[in-house]
């Protein structure tokens, strides 16, 4: 079988990609420290448990991104003639499903605790010779858990559209939204401090909704991606203008009567077919190559284009 040509990002995009990978490694490092800190302080608070689970889950997108970066660059071979670019989409889908199921579990668990009227016990802890309420320690852990992700999330959010990386952007969005989880968790614990035993479970429920929402949005995204949905740009706007422009430029080529395209997204790249109706009976190899070059040079995102002459576009 004819194996696909290997595809590589242009140098400036490669640079951004490298920076994104570095940010993700840093993210993983911070997240591990946050997960440990929160595990040590969470004791019997539902909200802390939910926040801790959410932080542990936030490890999935960075890991997914780094794995996909590793696979993306592998050249297509005999076994995988189309290359490995789809590996990322699969990982993305798996991660989204995991997110969804766990969000559901937390919602279920905290609702149960609300119905059975469980009062969370949060005692005191001795620190530096003073007895303080463990709740203060938990609040500190929560705030610590919010700051690095928010800073890193902002940085990643800036890079993502430039290299058209959906996983990166989703990860950045989840990080930026960490402030919401943190506020909910802090309010939950302050609520317990005020004697409102239900505050904790309610906060946990709220956090679980965030996780569920993340899960659903990402499942939709990754499923559509795998189903080769008509590509949209990073903001979700249609690419009709871009495609129309390509169509008209193709029609202007020598020996081309009419042309159309069919594109699909493969992670950050675009692949597809170009249908060309020649003016005469035959189409020259040179003209096909011209059409090919036109498309490839129009955007860095095109990885694999097949030009095929057809009798008509109907």
């Amino acid at each position: 079988m004819k194996i696909r040509e290997p595809y590589h990002l242009p140098p400036d995009k490669q640079e951004l990609n490298r920076r994104a990978q570095k940010l993700e490694w840093v993210t993983i490092g911070f997240l591990i420290s946050i997960v440990i800190v929160m595990y040590l302080t969470m004791s019997s608070s539902q909200a802390m448990k939910a926040a801790w689970i959410e932080d542990t889950l936030s490890l999935i997108p960075p890991i997914t991104f780094l794995i996909s970066c590793h696979f993306k660059d592998k050249s297509p071979n005999e076994r995988f003639p189309y290359g490995y670019r789809r590996a990322a989409s699969i990982a993305f889908l798996a991660a989204s499903v995991a997110l969804f199921m766990i969000g559901f579990y937390i919602l279920f668990d905290s609702s149960l605790k609300l119905i059975t009227r469980e009062h969370p016990t949060i005692g005191t802890i001795k620190i530096f010779g003073h007895h303080i309420w463990s709740g203060w320690l938990m609040i500190t852990a929560l705030i610590y858990g919010a700051i690095p992700p928010m800073i890193l999330g902002y940085k990643k959010f800036m890079i993502a559209p430039k290299i058209h990386e959906k996983v990166l952007r989703t990860d950045a969005e989840m990080n930026k939204a960490d402030w919401f989880t943190t506020v909910a968790g802090v309010l939950g614990i302050l609520g317990i401090g005020q004697g409102w035993w239900w505050a904790d479970s309610v906060a946990a429920g709220v956090i679980s909704f965030e996780i569920l929402k993340d899960g659903i949005v990402n499942i939709k995204e990754s499923a559509h991606d795998l189903m080769d949905r008509k590509s949209v740009d990073m903001e979700g706007n249609s690419m009709d203008d871009f495609i129309e422009d390509l169509r008209s430029r193709l029609r202007k080529l020598d020996g081309v009567a009419d042309a159309d395209l069919r594109l699909r997204e493969e992670g950050d790249t675009l692949a597809g077919e170009i249908f060309v109706v020649p003016t005469g009976q035959h189409i020259l190899l040179g003209q096909i190559e011209q059409a090919h070059k036109l498309i490839r040079s129009s955007s860095w995102r095109f990885s694999d284009i097949v030009v095929t002459p057809v009798r008509s576009l109907k």
Partner: protein
């Protein structure tokens, strides 16, 4: 700027007096009555002529004095006391309980105020104890300790009270020291002693935890004085 100051002030005022009890236990017992469930478990809780005595009883009595409160003692089986705590019908339950108790998730436990190590001890003449395999070990303990000894290949011999001073013995470290044994490094169990309270009464539990921490030094001394 002024808004920020107001917000900080609000937070500080809000924070003062935290945590609070959902069921106002601490408020209620001050100058009032503390309902304490008791279950026999010497030397922590003993029954003498129907009245409770013991290390934990003394601690609770001193604690009550700091609150200007009287105590209502209630004897009964453990599971009943745990149920009462869950339904806020009791304020405390003492019975030599440890942190590994199965009810730990449904009621409130203080953090451990004393860690009791159960270890192997031996008379001076038999030190060092090289291996427990096939060795007869005397103990007054039940259940887990017997199983642990068997796991290590020893032959446990159960007595009601420790008396023999000429054989390898498994007992809490304070008891081994009292009987004049040399304590080896083999620890069979670590018991983290706690006192049980109603779930979520965090001001009440916090107050007790502070008290226990301040008085935990006396416990070792008291244990050695036990008959």
């Amino acid at each position: 700027m002024q808004v920020l100051m107001l917000i900080i002030l609000d937070i500080v005022l809000f924070g003062c007096g935290m945590p609070r009890d959902p069921n106002h236990t601490l408020e209620r017992v001050q100058g009032g009555v503390i309902r304490v469930g008791v279950a026999e478990n010497p030397p922590w809780v003993k029954r003498m002529n129907g009245l409770p005595e013991g290390i934990e009883i003394d601690l609770v009595q001193e604690f009550a004095e700091t609150l200007n409160a009287k105590i209502q003692w209630m004897w009964g089986p453990e599971f009943e006391h745990m149920e009462s705590l869950k339904h806020f019908e009791l304020d405390l339950f003492v019975g030599g309980l440890t942190q590994s108790h199965p009810s730990r998730k449904r009621v409130g436990f203080t953090s451990p105020y004393f860690i009791e190590r159960v270890a192997i001890g031996a008379p001076q003449a038999m030190i060092p104890v090289r291996s427990l395999k096939g060795l007869p070990v005397v103990t007054a303990e039940k259940g887990k300790i017997i199983a642990e000894l068997k796991k290590k290949g020893a032959e446990p011999m159960r007595l009601e009270r420790l008396a023999r001073l000429d054989s390898v013995t498994a007992a809490p470290v304070w008891e081994l020291e009292k009987l004049g044994f040399e304590v080896t490094e083999t620890v069979l169990q670590k018991r983290k002693h706690i006192i049980a309270a109603p779930p979520g009464e965090n001001a009440w539990i916090g107050r007790l935890e502070r008290f226990l921490y301040d008085h935990c030094a006396q416990i070792e001394v008291r244990l050695k004085q036990e008959q």
